[in-house]
């Protein structure tokens, strides 16, 4: 098992990453400093100075950067939906084998 998979499902098929609410984000960059997986990228000269660059680096079910966010600008997908989707992907893989 590698980081390209999560619970046996290909990581790129699992929709799990933070969404930045740009009406709330104050670009304090606490999330960037916190996340060790390079999910975010800082773009100093652009209007949106912070983007989710590598969504598939985000650890599925982890919402820890969201808990560091002062302005509460980060949101994540619904966990139940994600769990269901992982189970579906695994079934599809079994059937195609």
């Amino acid at each position: 098992m590698s980081e390209d998979t999560f619970m046996g499902a290909p990581r790129e098929k699992i929709d799990w990453a933070p969404t930045i609410d740009y009406t709330k984000c104050n670009y304090c960059m606490e999330c960037v400093e916190f996340c060790p997986h390079q999910v975010y990228e800082v773009r100093e000269n652009e209007e949106k100075r912070l983007i989710v660059k590598n969504p598939n680096n985000c650890v599925v079910f982890c919402r820890a950067c969201g808990k560091t966010c002062g302005p509460d600008a980060l949101s994540f997908p619904n966990k139940n939906e994600t769990t269901k989707r992982i189970k579906e992907i695994r079934k599809e893989m079994e059937q195609s084998e």
Binding site: F61, A64, T68, C69, N80, T83
Partner: protein
């Protein structure tokens, strides 16, 4: 009878939630005789507050997820007795906080609610003791040891299920005890606060089953199984460091009555699978 606290608010002027921590601190101090620690002064010079911080139970009031007061307590190596996060509470009680720095009607309503909750907390603490743990663990666990530099990571070899999010479940009959692995506690380093899941709450697999917190981060306990919370480890409220001592034994998090273990099992890992993942994570990250 309310607790006589040392109150450390973040007192932030960055957003209204910070201003609210000041008002909450003032009201609790007025009603209980608790003493307020000024975070600004405390950072510069701690002599004035060392005595009160050491002698009274510490109440942390943070405005937002930046956790300035919590981090200050970590820097000063203080033991936290109770904690409020105003932003989280505003969501929980569905009371919106405005964008001005002045307290308005909504903020004062939230303030009153939170002050009342803190003042009555002690009574509820006593009332919540009636649900006790029922999962019996083996007297001795056999551990695989993996060492990286000076850090030693333990992993129980038998009877445990794991998740890729570094949590474990020990299942007997229709009950499970859950917790975190050594990888989590080592990554967080000194754990200073435990927020238990609510007794009786129903949690889906991978849902949030409370949280643990260090100066570095807040770690959401990602529940390995679905079920209803039947017991929480009350001892961690006073001794969150038990999770650092041993997260599989004295540092367990909670117990659940299982609701769909056959289905949950599909996404759980056995020792042989998780140990490889843990070793890879340890090798990749210098904790």
């Amino acid at each position: 009878m309310s607790k006589d606290y040392a109150i450390l608010p973040c007192n932030g002027l960055d957003k209204l939630a910070g201003s609210l921590t000041r008002e909450i601190a003032l009201r609790i101090a007025e009603q209980t005789g608790s003493e307020i620690i000024c975070p600004t002064f405390y950072r510069v010079s701690d002599v004035l507050y060392n005595k009160v911080a050491a002698e009274k139970p510490l109440l942390i009031i943070d405005g937002c997820g930046t956790r300035c007061a919590g981090k200050l307590a970590a820097e000063k190596v203080l033991k936290i007795a109770a904690k409020i996060n105003v932003t989280e509470e505003s969501k929980k009680h569905n009371i919106k906080i405005g964008s001005s720095l002045r307290l308005g009607e909504n903020e004062l309503r939230l303030c009153e609610l939170l002050v009342n909750n803190i003042l009555k907390d002690e009574l509820e603490d006593k009332a919540s003791q009636d649900l006790k743990e029922t999962v019996v663990m083996p007297a001795e666990l056999d551990y695989e040891i993996y060492q990286k530099d000076k850090f030693v990571f333990r992993l129980p070899k038998e009877g445990f299920y794991f998740t890729e999010n570094d949590c474990w479940a020990y299942v007997t009959g229709n009950k499970a005890r859950i917790g975190v692995t050594d990888y989590v506690q080592k990554s967080l380093s000194d754990i200073m606060f435990y927020t238990p899941p609510a007794l009786g709450s129903e949690i889906e697999q991978f849902g949030e089953a409370g949280a643990i917190e260090s100066g570095k981060a807040v770690f959401e306990i990602i529940c390995p199984v679905s079920g209803v919370i039947t017991a929480v480890n009350d001892e961690l409220l006073d001794y969150p460091e038990y999770i650092n001592d041993n997260p599989y034994e004295k540092g367990w998090i909670a117990e659940l009555e299982l609701t769909d273990f056959e289905s949950d099992k599909e996404l759980l890992l056995q020792f042989e699978e998780y140990v490889k993942i843990m070793k890879r994570k340890v090798d990749e990250f210098h904790v």
